[in-house]
């Protein structure tokens, strides 16, 4: 599958892209709303997408991409959109993929006896959508088995059952919900029911300043994703309400970022509270998030299983104590904060602890809060030591994954891949998801 980077995209289109009916129509055929995509990118309304407008357009294309990476697009649909921008599509070739630069949207119909990476990508999508290829799997060859699966897909999606992957079928396949056989999701309907995804993002203290670099990179990552700072200090309660936020849940001394995303066709506001070494009373601000927020993200040190820590290891002031240190006496810690809080919120929560061996938090998280169980608390924790260099990617794998409505298998798969270690099993464990009832609706796509 061809991969297209943001830089390559800008280079390829440095002459600009016409915002005209022909280009819009080509985009429509690639499965997107061409008029909307181009008009929203053409900020100076001069009928041409150029300069920094190309960045906006690329981000929009990246929104259709499921490769888990920003700044590159690689799925058939996303590369198909890029191709639709390039030029009018050539006549459909008689065979499928003939080279690495041929994108499916331009290659026309894929059909029996075709072979290559585009066929393989389509097979993988069929499998993901739950259509079986029991004998040959995703082998890159369009045989009878694939044609049967395509026919089945077309029938179930009210498309002409030709057994061939035309542009319409491919577009539908791109947006087909993943098979839910053996797949679990966070309880997205509960998380987003008030239209807000409220997140506490904690960055723990590191004695060598790695958290300072992580904070910078997280800010840049938030900006790349379209988050804006929310000036909570200077907004009235009425103004916060007008923006869709409950003022009683906002800490006026904290730093917040917000953006709107879509889940199953509805707008959801993502509100992120950042807690770090410079946040006054960081431990309690993090604790408030543990109690009230939908999503809790922590990256830093695990402090030998004792809990997140927002100041120097020698100080107990910044420790949000979840468990006991694995080596008694190593840290001077106060009382267990989960026990002190007694109860967390009754709402469904998802917690992610991106630090060394945070699976040591699990027993306390499962036993101390009296009103939490696997029905209203899901946890993703690490099973070993982690490097610093993956911390940003880990945090966004979770935040992006939730905002994209991904399954926990997909999210955990990305985390495990980023932290792969030879000879060892998965780097993360997902706890509590098995009984979850949420399933993505077909209408979402």
């Amino acid at each position: 599958m061809t991969k297209i980077s943001s830089n390559q995209f800008k280079q390829d289109f440095k002459g600009g892209i016409q915002n005209d009916a022909a280009t819009q129509e080509r985009l429509n055929k690639a499965g997107v709303d061409g008029k909307k995509m181009l008009s929203e990118s053409d900020s100076n309304k001069d009928g041409k997408i150029d300069g920094t407008e190309l960045d906006t357009l690329f981000k929009k294309i990246d929104d259709f991409d499921t490769d888990g990476r920003r700044q590159t697009v690689s799925t058939t649909k996303a590369t198909g959109i890029v191709n639709a921008l390039r030029a009018p599509p050539p006549p459909a070739p008689s065979t499928g993929s003939t080279g690495p630069d041929l994108y499916v949207a331009n290659a026309g119909t894929l059909k029996k006896d075709d072979k290559g990476p585009d066929v393989k990508a389509a097979q993988e999508k069929l499998l993901k959508a739950g259509y079986e290829l029991p004998k040959f799997g995703a082998d890159g060859r369009y045989g009878n088995e694939m044609a049967t699966a395509v026919k089945q897909f077309q029938t179930e999606n009210k498309l002409p059952a030709t057994g061939e992957l035309d542009v319409g079928t491919l577009a539908k396949l791109e947006t087909a919900p993943p098979s839910t056989k053996g797949v679990q999701f966070p309880e997205y309907d509960k998380m987003f029911k008030d239209g807000v995804l409220q997140t506490t993002l904690g960055l723990g203290f590191d004695e060598d300043g790695n958290d300072v670099g992580l904070r910078r990179d997280m800010l840049n990552g938030l900006q790349e994703r379209g988050f804006e700072k929310l000036d909570v200090k200077n907004l009235t309660d009425a103004q916060l309400k007008q923006k869709g936020f409950d003022p009683s849940t906002i800490d006026r001394d904290a730093t917040y970022f917000t953006k709107t995303f879509q889940h199953e066709g509805k707008d959801v506001k993502s509100l992120v509270k950042l807690v770090d070494r410079d946040t006054p009373d960081a431990k309690n601000k993090f604790g408030a998030g543990m109690k009230n927020d939908d999503l809790i993200l922590y990256s830093g040190h695990g402090r030998r299983g004792s809990g997140p820590d927002f100041d120097h290891a020698d100080s107990k002031d910044g420790n949000y104590v979840i468990g006991k240190p694995s080596e008694p006496g190593h840290y001077k810690l106060g009382d267990n904060d989960l026990s002190k809080q007694g109860a967390l919120g009754n709402q469904y929560q998802l917690m992610f602890f991106d630090a060394c061996n945070t699976n040591k938090y699990l027993d306390d998280l499962r036993s101390r809060p009296r009103n939490k169980d696997a029905g209203n608390l899901d946890i993703v924790a690490s099973t070993r030591e982690l490097p610093w260099s993956t911390s940003k990617a880990d945090m966004f794998a979770m935040l992006d994954g939730v905002m994209d409505g991904k399954s926990i298998q997909d999210i955990k798969g990305a985390l495990d891949k980023q932290n792969a270690e030879a000879g060892k099993g998965a780097a993360f464990v997902a706890d509590g998801f098995k009984g979850n009832s949420y399933r993505p609706s077909a209408a979402a796509n």
Partner: protein
Amino acid sequence: MAMGACAATAAPEGDHVNLNDPALALDVRVAKAKALATDKDPKAIDTLLSGLDTRSEDLRATVLASLQAQKADAVLLGRAADVKKKAAERVAALTGLRLMKPEKAGAKVALLLVDKDESVREAAAWALCVFGTAEAERPLADALAKEPSPKVRYFLAVALGDLKTPTAQSAIAARAKVEKDFAVKDALDQAAAKQNR
């Protein structure tokens, strides 16, 4: 420079394994780091620097102890300042200094805030976030006014914010009036807030 990556030199060979090598168990890496404390091979320091991208408190403490036993701070300061060396090697040296936090190194590291190489300036500013002292105040303030890279300005703002001096305060305020970068603006806000705590 990727966050947290120590940009170390190429993985050493033989006994001098890469201490960040995920194919080696952590206890093996810790044992090897410990053994390097008395290793006379000039590659020993490079090997220790290869172990900095870790959140393991055991490995970190062992690497630090071995670097201290090697009296590596002088070597690292020399490498960081040597413009003939590759930028990656100089950055690795500055990352090692961020771990070692040698006393009185602030002034020497501050000289690198005007280095030609952006990654060296970035690593120097980052190191001064950890062990910046009053002697680095003026170079930090000057750099914040002139530095073209937002990646570097972010760390300059953080380092100045921790100094809490009038010079730092006015440098932060002056930059805040013109700063456009999203992350640096936030760092300046945080730095200004810290002045009043």
